[in-house]
């Protein structure tokens, strides 16, 4: 298939970027989207141009590295997938495809489609953990009874890979789905209860200081999340946070 690509090119964080048109032929519908990008880059290298920089690692939807905004949607048009799991059969011969980085002031573009998501790391560092003494006296995991329902919900929240699609797709660039998932993952388990109040306060404070927008409950994040993280996690975060605010 032949494609008309419009790709965001930006040399450095300081430079202003722009959309650049590329014609690409000989693409098989069996290729993954990132393989199509590899073909584009080979063509650019052959022409003596700089290849398009983009993040990728596992290429099986687990690592959360890939981060393209494709035709107006985070990770492209297929629901519940990351960009690396998207295949060219989702497109038609002759299509024009817009390829942009995840955009938010909290995620500055480093180069082309590569963004700096360390804001998420700093949010995690501010409370996305439990303080456990791991000096060799580790307790048997099954010694603490946990309701199956809660274990399942915590596991659902923990499937968040931190890719940032929620921020990218949100009209307000809000990070509440990510933070909601990270808070819920611990809030639902007895081990997380000990520091629950501090965790919600600290992670929300860090999120706010990173310059993400405010959530207006449009639900776009939930739809675009490759892991299907639910809005109930945001409501749980709100409860945890409000509990910590009025009940500290």
């Amino acid at each position: 298939m032949n494609l008309n690509l419009k790709v965001w090119r930006q040399d450095s964080p300081q430079e202003k970027g722009k959309m650049v048109d590329y014609q690409l032929g000989g693409i098989s519908e069996h290729m993954s989207f990132l393989e199509m990008m590899d073909v584009l880059n080979q063509q650019l290298i052959d022409n003596g141009e700089r290849p398009v920089a983009f993040d990728h690692d596992c290429r099986e939807g687990i690592c959360g590295s890939c981060s393209m905004f494709i035709n107006g949607e985070a990770h492209g048009p297929v629901k519940g997938t990351t960009t690396c799991q998207l295949h060219m059969r989702s497109f038609n011969d002759g299509d024009t495809i817009f390829i942009e980085p995840f955009r938010a002031n909290a995620f500055p573009v480093l180069k082309d489609l590569v963004i700096d998501r360390s804001a998420f790391d700093r949010i995690q560092h501010s409370g996305g953990y439990i303080s456990v003494n791991t000096s060799g006296n580790t307790q048997d995991a099954n010694a603490t009874p946990i309701p199956k329902e809660n274990a399942d919900l915590a596991m659902d929240a923990a499937t968040c890979i931190g890719c940032g699609a929620c921020v990218a797709t949100c009209k307000n660039s809000s990070a509440m789905l990510f933070v909601g998932a990270k808070i819920s993952q611990y809030a639902l388990l007895p081990q997380g209860k000990v520091e629950a109040k501090e965790r919600a306060q600290n992670m929300v404070a860090q999120m706010d200081s990173e310059g993400f927008g405010n959530c207006t409950n449009t639900g776009a994040c939930e739809v675009e999340c490759p892991k299907g993280i639910s809005l109930t996690n945001i409501a749980r975060m709100n409860r945890e946070f409000l509990d910590g605010s009025v009940n500290s």
Partner: protein, 231 residues
């Protein structure tokens, strides 16, 4: 883990939006209930209007809370919209908002500003004349000038009979209010942390019912008074 406290968090901001929203929705129900009386029985409408217009609890406690909620909900909504816009300086070349969220949820600022514009008209029509008569001219009697019967029903009818432009304006405004409520009702519950596998679907249905029935109620009243009197 030590605690970092901030003055007003992003969650605090949305809770304030939700709480004033809840109050305004209750106000809508109360306003609609009284207006419906104007269709059922003119005397009853007059009695209740007079009570609402002169009762000290309503005038000096509920009315200030209402004015505060209205002003706050608008100002805060506009401020948050501005702040949210600031979170993404470089906009997408292509952004398909309809793929993952409703028009209503993405355009609360449009439906909200439309309701604000309507309020200006509505205040000019009813609220300012009412304040003028009661508190500037000092006539708290509620009587039609030079007569011994209440003025409220006649004033209401005069605004709509033979006034097609005003009726159309009201209809458009209530369509926008309906859009606002279609997202706002259920969104308020989510903001205060209420999300339940059993009750949230009910709240969403209830919200849709509220968002459609309440504006239709107001529209019916306007159209009724437009039609009932000979043109």
């Amino acid at each position: 883990m030590s605690t970092k406290k901030q003055k007003l968090s992003s969650i605090g901001k949305k809770v304030l939006m939700a709480l004033t929203g809840f109050f305004l929705m209750l106000f809508l129900l109360q306003h609609l209930s009284i207006n419906l009386l104007s269709v059922i029985d003119a005397d009853m409408f007059n009695e209740v209007s007079h009570f609402m217009g002169t009762n000290p609890l309503v005038q000096y406690v509920l009315q200030p809370i209402l004015i505060f909620s209205v002003v706050f909900h608008f100002a805060w909504g506009i401020y948050l919209e501005y702040q949210n816009n600031q979170a993404r300086d470089v906009k997408y070349a292509k952004y398909k908002g309809s793929a993952n969220a409703t028009w209503m949820s993405r355009n609360m600022i449009i439906s909200g500003l439309a309701v604000l514009a309507f309020l200006a008209v509505h205040f000019y029509d009813f609220w300012l004349p009412e304040i003028n008569v009661k508190y500037i001219q000092g006539d708290m009697s509620g009587m039609l000038h030079g007569t011994d019967h209440f003025r409220y029903h006649e004033e209401l009818v005069a605004k709509f009979a033979n006034q097609p432009i005003r009726v159309v304006l009201y209809v458009v405004a209530f369509v926008m209010l309906s859009f606002h409520l279609l997202h706002g009702f259920q969104s308020s519950f989510q903001s205060v942390g209420f999300n339940h596998s059993k009750y949230t679907p009910i709240i969403k249905k209830l919200g849709n019912l509220f968002a459609i029935a309440v504006p239709i109620g107001f529209v019916i009243i306007a159209i009724y008074h437009y039609n009932i009197h000979p043109h």
